[in-house]
């Protein structure tokens, strides 16, 4: 590895001269600057990032803690974070908690030793269920800023990025009601999560408002890791009068569509379906699934920007903000 010292030796100048020259310091003569830069280029010199980090006590690296990268939503958020981070001159270290509290704790601890300048985090399922947030609150005292997204925790004081889940589900449900659907089911495999609860409540409220009662038998909650297809098939066989479905998660909308079709439902004539998804998921079924788009990439971009803003703010203890990213309802084929 080529270092300042080696360049300095070759040029018969001091290390500090080389350093200054490479940084275009006004202290150094043009001539020297050129000589130094030429040699540096010749050896393809890159300043050692670790040394810079130590010196500046700033790593320009962000820790991103995510529950599950196989969930397209999180994968997309990560894409947004990574891309925007790069343009801002940051790298990201990714930790996947696999929805466990222990890995979440460990990841925060392991990276809180100078490895990163801050965190972007979506809480794991286990964290939300167990209501154990000390490891996150504790970060406040280490002056490592945190931005939470999607899986945010009310009790933790930090910048946050969310979508308005409640309103999205309300709008989707009202959509189906407007189509004249009377037996609208709600299907979710994220009933443990805050977002899941909020989405369910929005569904219930909308149904209640229109039909004055909620039929609990039309609510299907599927635990993670259980085979959704079998559950959904049984659910439809038991409730053949269903004429609308609102899905609260990323996968069950597609499965509902295909299962119902297999059972003889015409879509959208007999059954309207809407789920959380994106274009690629929508494209997997015939007809294409109508969906609520969460603008996942935007969420990621907003998160990293909030974080970097805070890193750059002169410690002046800005108020924490919560940014709400707009959602969109897209594609009418299954409505």
């Amino acid at each position: 590895m080529i270092t300042l010292k080696k360049l300095a030796e070759q040029l018969n100048v001091s290390v500090s001269t080389v350093s200054k020259a490479l940084n275009d310091s006004s202290e150094i003569s043009q001539e020297t600057i050129i000589r130094v830069k030429e040699l540096a280029k010749h050896y393809n010199y890159q300043p050692n990032r670790i040394a810079q980090s130590l010196q500046k006590s700033s790593t320009r690296t962000i820790g991103v803690i995510i529950p599950n990268i196989l969930n397209r939503f999180f994968a997309k958020v990560l894409v947004g974070i990574e891309k925007e981070a790069n343009t801002l001159g940051y790298n990201i270290i990714t930790c996947i908690t696999n929805e466990t509290l222990s890995k979440e704790k460990e990841s925060l601890k392991l990276l809180s030793n100078g490895s990163v300048d801050g965190f972007i985090l979506a809480a794991s399922e286990e964290t939300q269920v167990s209501k154990n947030f000390d490891h996150i609150s504790l970060l406040q005292s280490s002056d490592l800023p945190v931005v939470m997204f999607d899986r945010v925790i009310d009790n933790v004081n930090c910048d946050k990025v969310v979508i308005d889940d409640f309103s999205a589900l309300q709008k989707a449900t009202v959509h189906l009601i407007a189509k004249g659907r009377k037996n609208i089911a709600f299907i979710s495999n994220i009933d443990d999560l805050n977002v899941g609860k909020s989405r369910k409540q929005a569904y219930k409220d909308s149904i209640l408002k229109k039909y004055h009662k909620v039929d609990e038998s039309l609510i299907l909650t599927i635990p993670r890791k259980v085979n959704s297809q079998d559950r959904i098939k049984a659910f439809f066989k038991a409730n053949p009068h269903i004429d609308g479905v609102v899905s609260a998660d990323n996968t069950s909308g597609t499965i509902v569509l295909n299962v119902a079709k297999d059972l003889g439902f015409k879509i959208p004539e007999d059954l309207s379906i809407i789920g959380f998804a994106d274009e690629a998921i929508s494209n997997l079924s015939v007809p294409r699934l109508s969906y609520i788009s969460q603008n996942a990439k935007q969420i990621g971009i907003a998160a990293i920007n909030l974080l970097v803003d805070r890193l750059n703010s002169e410690e002046e203890k800005k108020e924490f903000t919560t940014r709400v990213i707009p959602y969109k309802i897209k594609n009418q084929e299954s409505l």
Copy 2:
């Protein structure tokens, strides 16, 4: 941030004593070790990783360069890498090239400045198409080891992890032939890639061997970013005599199944389908898609192990190895 120095001041001993005590050096008395450790625990002392990295010139961080995290295969490989890396005491910095050569070059360059100890890399589409590999070969000279997986490049000399694509496709095709299928189509949205080419060739060879000629009109290659569903629908309308499909990628199998069903095909009676997928994808359709499983997580685990082995090998220039991870054909519902 609490440092050795601060601990040393409080304890009225030297920094090196504290350092040695925390590392259980035999030079230090039990009594001191206990005193030091207690104070360290009290302050929740964590050694600064950046300082350690600088001192040891080893970061215990791996750069992972991936074309597209929204592709489930790569997401799964990443899960494998991340988990295994953590057990081995490594962090990973993830870069997503979005299938571009420029981002791939930039990522390698940016991380080759001491940020990481080595790389795990799957080449981008653009890299493979343009046959521009200098940025990868160049790493050899910087003693940063590389392990390539899946999208490997023959001309680059390094450790590699792959599956036997040729054999997998052969086996899948022969499977359909054995079911009596006579008009077997091949569908791929990865025709640009080496793996895509290899899979197509295996299909052709198998068909040729049995039926002595290949009907090129039964081969559908879809460029990335084009809407697969429309293409596949048109393809089936133009070729209603198709009775078998081998899909070379992660998504078209599901789309084929749903499109064909929508056009009136009974599956698997009228049409047998097999694709590259995993359980979750398979589960999205009715009947469930039969699939070739690439054991993506295993690929990731193998890659990080190869890399760490090389990092630990005493520079003795071990031969480069290529590990072939076994694939499996799973689920018979759509066959």
